[in-house]
Amino acid sequence: MSAVEHNGLRFGFSNWRRVLSPTGNTGDAIFRIAMLLVALLMVAIVVAMVWALATDALMSIRQFGFGFLIARKWDPIKGDFGALPFVYGTVMSSVIALAISIPFSLGIAIFLVEQAPPYIARPVGFLVELLAAIPSVVYGLWGIFVLAPVLREHVQPILQTAFGWLPLFQGSMTGIGLLTGGIILAIMVTPIISAVVRDVLAAVPGSQREAALALGATKWEMIRVVLVNGAPGIAGAIILGLGRALGETMAVTMVIGNRAQISPSLFDPAYTIASAIANEFTEATGDLYVSALVELGLILFLVTFIVNGIARLLVWNVTRKTGGVGRAA
C-alpha cells in the first residue's frame, strides 16, 4: 500500500485505526480484529453462561427465594425443593477429601522438591500427575467395585469399633456413602494439590534455603522455612483442590448413594449438588423441578467461580513474586 493511501485511510479514523493496527497495515487490522472477536467470544460465553443459568433458574428463585439454600426437603412429587441436603453433601465430601488429601499432597510435594534426587523426582512426579489423567467415571467404577467393598468389609468395622461412640461412625456399613465419596475425591484432588504445591515450593528462592542452612538449621527445619515462605501459595493450592472437589461429578455420583438426606453418620448415603444434576436432570418432569436443578447448577457455578478466583490470586502472587517456575508465572 502506498504512503498516500495509507495516510488517507489514517486521516478519517485515526484513533481506533491506530489501536487496531499500530503499523497501519491492512492485514494487521484484519488479523487484530479477528483475534479481538475471538477474545470477545470468550467473554460472551461466560456472560451467556451466567445469563442462561440465571434465566432458567428464575422460576425456582422466585418461588423459594433464599430459603432454597436452607430448606431441608427435596420432594419432586410434592414440588418441594430445598438445597440444604445437597449443599451439606457437597461441603462434607469436599471437607473429607481435603482432610485426607492435604497431608499427602504436602508430603508428596516436599519429597519431590526438597528431598528426592532429580532422577527419582521426575518420573515419580509424572506418575503422581497421571492420577489426575484418570477420568472421573473410571474412579467411579473402581469406587463401586473395589473401594466400596473394601471399606465395607475392612475399614468401616474397624472405625466403628474404635470410634463407634461418635455419631460420625454409627449406622449401617454399606460401603456406599459420604465417606466413600470423600475418599474417592481425596485420591482425585491429591495430584492437583501436590502439583501446585510443587510449583509453589520450587518458586521459593534458593537463598531462603541457604540462609536457613547457614544459620545451622537441620534439613527439616530448612523445609519448615520453605513451607512458611510458600504458605499463601500452599493455601491457594488447597483452595484450588477444593474448587475441583466441589464440582466433581461422576465418581462421587457413583459411590455416594444419592439420597437427599442430612445424616450425622459418614457411613450413610448422601447427595451432592453435582450428583443431583447428573442424576435427575434428564428425568425431571415439570418446569419447577428443572428450574430448581438449574438453580443448583447456578449455585455450583458461582461457588466454584469464587473459590477458584481466590485460589488463583494466592498462587499467582507467590509464583509471580519470585519470577518462579509456576504455570502462573
Binding site: 497495515n25 492485514g27 494487521d28 484484519i30 488479523f31 487484530r32 479477528a34 483475534m35 479481538l36 475471538v38 477474545a39 467470544l41 470468550m42 467473554v43 451467556a48 453462561m49 442462561a52 443459568l53 499427602f104 504436602l106 508430603g107 508428596i108 516436599i110 519429597f111 519431590l112 528426592a116 515419580v124 509424572f126 506418575l127 503422581v128 500427575e129 492420577l131 489423567a133 484418570i134 477420568p135 472421573s136 467415571v137 473410571v138 474412579y139 467411579g140 467404577l141 467395585f145 501436590s194 527439616w220 466433581e248 461429578t249 457413583m254 453435582a274 444434576i277 447428573a278 436432570f281 434428564t282 438449574v294 447448577g297 455450583l300 457455578f301 466454584t304 467461580f305 473459590v307 477458584n308
Partner: protein, 263 residues
C-alpha cells in the same frame, strides 16, 4: 521425616498402580474383536462397544474442529495481540471457564442448544466438550508462544514483515510442537469427560448415523453399565474402561516422551 514424605509419595504411586492393574486385570477378560466392533445387546447376548468407540471419536472430532482453532486463537490473542485491562479480563474469563465444573457446562449447553433444538445430539455433545477444551488449549498456547524468544519477533519485524505475518509465519511455527502438545493433552482430557455428555449427547445403543441425533460415547456407556445390576454389563464396563484408559494414558505418556518436559 524423609521416610514419611516418601511414604506419602509411595502411597499415591501405589494407588495409581493398583487402579491401573485392576483395570487391566478385569478388562482383559471381556476384550475381544467382536466386543470392539459390535453394538450393545440385551443382557445375555454379548454385544460390544463399537458404536461407543465410534461415537467418542465423532464427539472428539466435532469438539476438536470447534475447540482447537478457537482455543489457539485465544492463546494468540493473549500472547501476541491483547494488552492492558481487556486482555486481563479475557485471561480471567478463560481461567473462569477452566474452573467451571463440567456438569455445569452440560447444563448450559442443554439450555442453549438441546432445548431450542428439542432433542439431544452429537453436535450438542461436541460443543459441550469444545467449551471444556478451549480454555485448556488457550492457556497452553499462550504459554508456548511466550516461550518463543523475543529476538525472533524483532528480527521478523525488522525485516519489514507486518505483525500478522510475523505471528502466523514465524511465531506460531516456532511454538507449533508445544501447541500440538497442549492440544493432545486437551483431547486426552475431554475423551474422559462424562458429565457434560449426559444431557447433551445423551447416549445411544446404535451406531451413529447423523450428527443431529443422540450418540453413544465410551464414558457414558461405562457409566450406564457400571450402575446397572447385571454382572455381564459390569464386565463389559471394565473392558470399555480398559479401552478408554489405553486411549487416555496413551496420549499422556506419548506426549511425555515426545516433549520430555513437565506440563
Amino acid at each position: 521425616m524423609t521416610a514419611l514424605t516418601a511414604l506419602c509419595t509411595l502411597l499415591a504411586v501405589g494407588a495409581l498402580l493398583i487402579i491401573l492393574s485392576y483395570i487391566a486385570w478385569q478388562g482383559i477378560g471381556s476384550l475381544n474383536l467382536q466386543f470392539l466392533i459390535d453394538r450393545p445387546r440385551p443382557v445375555g447376548e454379548g454385544g460390544g462397544i463399537g458404536n461407543a468407540i465410534l461415537g467418542s471419536l465423532v464427539l472428539l472430532a466435532i469438539s476438536s474442529v470447534i475447540g482447537l482453532p478457537l482455543g489457539i486463537s485465544v492463546g494468540v490473542y493473549l500472547s501476541e495481540v491483547g494488552t492492558g485491562r481487556f486482555a486481563g479480563a479475557v485471561r480471567f474469563m478463560v481461567d473462569t471457564l477452566t474452573g467451571i465444573p463440567s456438569i455445569v457446562t452440560g447444563v448450559f449447553v442443554y439450555a442453549v442448544l438441546v432445548l431450542p433444538m428439542k432433542h439431544f445430539s452429537a453436535f450438542a455433545g461436541g460443543v459441550a466438550l469444545a467449551l471444556i477444551m478451549i480454555p485448556i488449549v488457550a492457556r497452553t498456547t499462550e504459554e508456548m508462544l511466550k516461550l518463543v524468544p523475543h529476538s525472533l519477533r524483532e528480527g521478523a519485524l525488522a525485516l519489514g514483515a507486518p505483525q500478522w505475518r510475523v505471528t502466523l509465519g514465524v511465531i506460531i511455527p516456532a511454538a507449533a510442537p508445544g501447541i500440538a502438545t497442549g492440544a493432545m493433552l486437551a483431547i486426552a482430557r475431554i475423551s474422559g469427560e462424562t458429565a457434560p455428555l449426559l444431557f447433551t449427547a445423551f447416549g445411544s445403543r446404535f451406531f451413529p448415523s447423523s450428527l443431529n441425533e443422540p450418540i453413544a460415547s465410551l464414558t457414558v456407556q461405562i457409566y450406564n453399565y457400571a450402575i446397572s445390576p447385571y454382572d455381564e454389563w459390569h464386565a463389559q464396563a471394565w473392558a470399555a474402561t480398559l479401552v478408554l484408559m489405553v486411549l487416555v494414558l496413551g496420549i499422556n505418556i506419548s506426549v511425555r516422551f515426545v516433549t520430555r518436559k513437565r506440563f
